[in-house]
């Protein structure tokens, strides 16, 4: 077990750095339309921000901010958003995942409705990928016993 040093330098640097990582992750998700990026890359960056927090502070500290239960809910929430959008397109009369049907409920023409549908998909994927990265990291690192911390 690595002796957990209360290292002030690492913790203050992380405390400053992590918000910018998360904003950059949101930027990558949101700008999937115009620049390389999208749900997966943005979700991984958000997950990496949280993993940095786990490494800098102890896992119990991190679990106070994002509990095990909330993490599992986020995992399924992203996918529910994704298939929910597909399902609303189904309900609105199109085939599954046909975003142009969203134009009926959103005040946009079918082409921009597709663009909004893609943005909704990216958000759903981003949430799921972030939650999955955090959940797999916490499980693999602490070998299942979260309360014992890293290593």
């Amino acid at each position: 077990m690595i002796a957990h040093l209360e290292d002030v330098i690492i913790q203050t640097v992380c405390r400053i750095l992590i918000p910018f990582i998360q904003v950059y992750g949101l930027y990558v998700i949101a700008h999937g339309h115009h620049s390389p990026g999208g749900g997966f890359q943005g979700g991984v960056i958000l997950g990496a921000g949280f993993i940095l927090f786990c490494v800098a502070y102890d896992i119990n500290e991190a679990k106070r901010r994002l509990s095990e239960k909330l993490d599992t809910v986020f995992c399924s929430l992203g996918l529910i958003i994704y298939s929910g959008i597909g399902f609303t397109c189904l309900v609105l009369g199109g085939n599954y995942l046909n975003y142009s049907r969203l134009g009926r409920i959103l005040p946009v023409d079918p082409v921009n409705a597709r663009s909004l549908g893609i943005l909704g998909i990216e958000i759903g994927v981003g949430i799921t990928v972030m939650a999955v990265m955090v959940s797999i990291f916490l499980d693999l690192v602490s070998r299942g016993k979260h309360e014992e911390g890293l290593g």
């Binding site: 999937g32 999208g38 749900g39 996918l79 082409v111 597709r114 549908g117 797999i136 499980d139 016993k145």
Partner: protein
């Protein structure tokens, strides 16, 4: 066991190489792959989905169902890790 593995590896490698003889050269613009299906993605994406990034439009719209399957794959991995390793707090 090791020489057997070596033979299997060499045989697969030779078969794969034999398969690449008829393939188009690297990067030539009129190879079948860049003529048959993908031109429509590039030319029509702004017109149909108002998304300039062709990869994102192909990923989330033209082949959006693949991405749903992909996200389900990563969701399965998360559930598998929880099922296999996580120990309930004694």
């Amino acid at each position: 066991m090791k020489p057997l593995a070596l033979i299997a590896v060499l045989m697969t490698g030779i078969l794969l190489l034999y398969g690449t003889i008829d393939m188009p050269n690297w990067g030539d613009p009129d190879s079948p792959a860049s003529i048959h299906v993908s031109p429509r993605y590039i030319e029509k994406t702004v017109e149909e989905t108002a998304v300039p990034n062709v990869v994102t439009s192909a990923l989330a719209d033209y082949r959006g169902y693949d991405t749903l399957g992909e996200t389900v794959v990563i969701f399965t991995a998360a559930m598998a890790c929880i099922l296999l390793i996580r120990r309930p707090r004694k």
